[in-house]
Symmetry: C2
Subunit: 336 residues, 2 copies
DNA sequence: CTGAAAGCGCTAACAG
DNA sequence: CTGTTAGCGCTTTCAG
């Protein structure tokens, strides 16, 4: 069996407490004793049992991360940002996949709570977070941060993107590029998808253009959906000459459909996505996109959590909305 | 505070043990008592404290996953396969990013061991696993499976791809497509990169072609590296007319360099990658690739671990080498 | 079928 | 500076 503090204590003829303190570099231990303890610990390749420690300190140095799909690079980037900020402080992350399934999400969260993680980061698959929220979270027993999917209630920590602005930036850009009929391939029914739609609509209005629902197609979450939605738009008597896609995978699928139809991107139809996914630059046509700072979202969530850990009072209700940034590549560049 | 078993016991006027057994559905509890306990537990929204349980059962239902880069979709896919297989059995995964850094990898593993995870899955960034392997792993105290990067020693569980075959399939394909000068952009210094090189070399030999080291460039791990390596190859007096790239990101970077140089893919230079990453089909030029069954790798590793958990004896030394599969897309299709 | 005793490995609080 | 006492919340073992 692995060495315990007790073993070190017996070997050295000191008490268990002395060992415990020496190992944690408490000040009230003589230089000499500390040395002896540390040396013996090294010899035995001693590692403290974090489970036992957690049981008494009530800190696990574990953060639960609940996301719908690790394979969607947006979430992989968030998770990376998160653990990059957390790791230097000794935290590790338990990553749970909810598969976009509200029920599974719930049970994963319960298990994480059973494990007494110090905090949670959740991209919820719930349609309305309010009703399904597990008790301990509702009661503010444990700090948690929602990301990406914005909660429909106040008082909750949230990190995401200014989604109206995402829609507005993209739409404005397409109009500036001379597009006459700007379409939208919208994502799932989540609140933040709705907000992008809103930014799209407002920008059209600003330019005194009518919002034509024929130009709003539903695209699901991935390239498959984007492909189908684009084909649908291409079937209109007056197909669009610019499309804002809810995310980059959707945009990639749309481009595929357009090229297959014998049209050119951006000359016939300009395309812009959102997310600035890692390989957007290498796609069929280098993809213009709206950068959401996905890594930054993870980093910010990490900071929120660590602030909560170090503050006894409940800081709930902090919100950071990252400012989206237009990234112009070939798929939408018509001028110059 | 959250409810404890003790609370339930007191409320019901039974002993703590009765509660413990009832909750775990032990058979030696009367139907009636069990009902009472379960009901009260539900009322109090009781969740067992897994930390306390772990301390005594010595099982955490936690699996450590150590990978170099979550943002590389190959690893995201492995992680997904892993947790998909593990979750139904009540396991969760602690994911640690090693950032391709051997030292960080080591400390993350130590921490996972301190947490007493039940097992580990590691894509090691160590040049030679043998020497740096943490003690408890060396002594077989805890089950672990290496993935992707093959260990240079026997007796270790490993799940990966038949890497010689990856190299051979790709090279053979390029030759079949009529390439005269087949180059290789190799990955990092890991054993499996070496093995792909070997498959490449053997296939050249089989066709009585000389192995010209000018045609072997070093590409790092990502698209940046692929871009640079390709530019280097393009600088040769006799540039290659076919390139096998160690992975898809590298291939994507190489394609970028080639197109920028005013050459065509595949007409001037045919390209094939490896990994069959999710969006390979949507790249600049749809990318031919060698599928490594990344999700399957995760699933298999999960099964290895669970077998180990359920068997007292050490099963070490199991190896699964998945058979790679050629996926031909446009980037290498010259005939027909 | 039920419960009392003992302890997992560690730390907080306080006494010497 | 060092050690003693008393748990953390649960399970294992064994006696009633």
């Amino acid at each position: 069996m692995a060495a315990r503090m007790k073993d070190i204590a017996e070997d050295l003829g000191v008490s268990l407490m002395t060992v415990s303190k020496a190992l944690r570099l408490h000040s009230d231990i003589s230089e000499q004793t500390r040395e002896r303890v540390l040396r013996r610990a090294r010899e035995l390749d001693f590692q403290p049992n974090l489970i036992a420690r957690s049981l008494v300190t009530r800190r696990t140095y574990l953060v639960g991360v609940v996301i719908p799909d690790l394979m969607h690079s947006f979430f992989a980037e968030v998770a990376t940002g998160l653990s990059r900020r957390l790791a230097p402080h000794g935290y590790q992350t338990v990553v749970a996949n909810s598969d976009e399934n509200a029920e599974l999400e719930g049970s994963q969260i319960e298990m994480l709570l059973s494990r007494h993680v110090d905090g949670l980061v959740i991209a919820s698959a719930q349609e309305n977070w309010q009703s399904r929220m597990p008790g301990p979270l509702r009661e503010g027993k444990i700090p948690y941060v929602l990301i990406d999917r914005m909660p429909d209630m106040a008082g909750i920590d949230y990190v995401g993107t200014r989604d109206e602005e995402v829609g507005a930036l993209a739409t404005e850009h397409l109009i500036q590029q001379g597009c006459r009929r700007v379409a939208l391939i919208r994502g799932p029914g989540t609140p933040n998808a709705r907000r992008r739609l809103q930014g799209y609509a407002e920008t059209l209005a600003k330019h005194r253009r009518a919002l034509d629902l024929n130009y709003v197609a539903v695209g699901g979450c991935d390239d498959e959906g984007g492909y189908r939605a684009a084909r649908q738009l291409l079937g209109l008597k007056q197909p669009p000459d610019g499309i804002f896609c809810h995310n980059d995978p959707i945009a990639a699928g749309a481009i595929k459909a357009i090229l297959e139809a014998g049209l050119r991107v951006p000359q016939d139809i300009a395309i812009i996505g959102a997310g600035n996914v890692r390989y957007s630059d290498l796609l069929r046509v280098p993809l213009s996109t709206i950068d959401q700072g996905s890594t930054k979202i993870g980093e910010t969530a990490a900071e929120f959590l660590m602030e909560s850990f170090n503050s006894k009072s409940n800081l709930g209700g902090r919100t950071v909305l990252l400012e989206p940034r237009l990234v112009v590549r070939e798929s939408s560049r018509r001028s110059g």
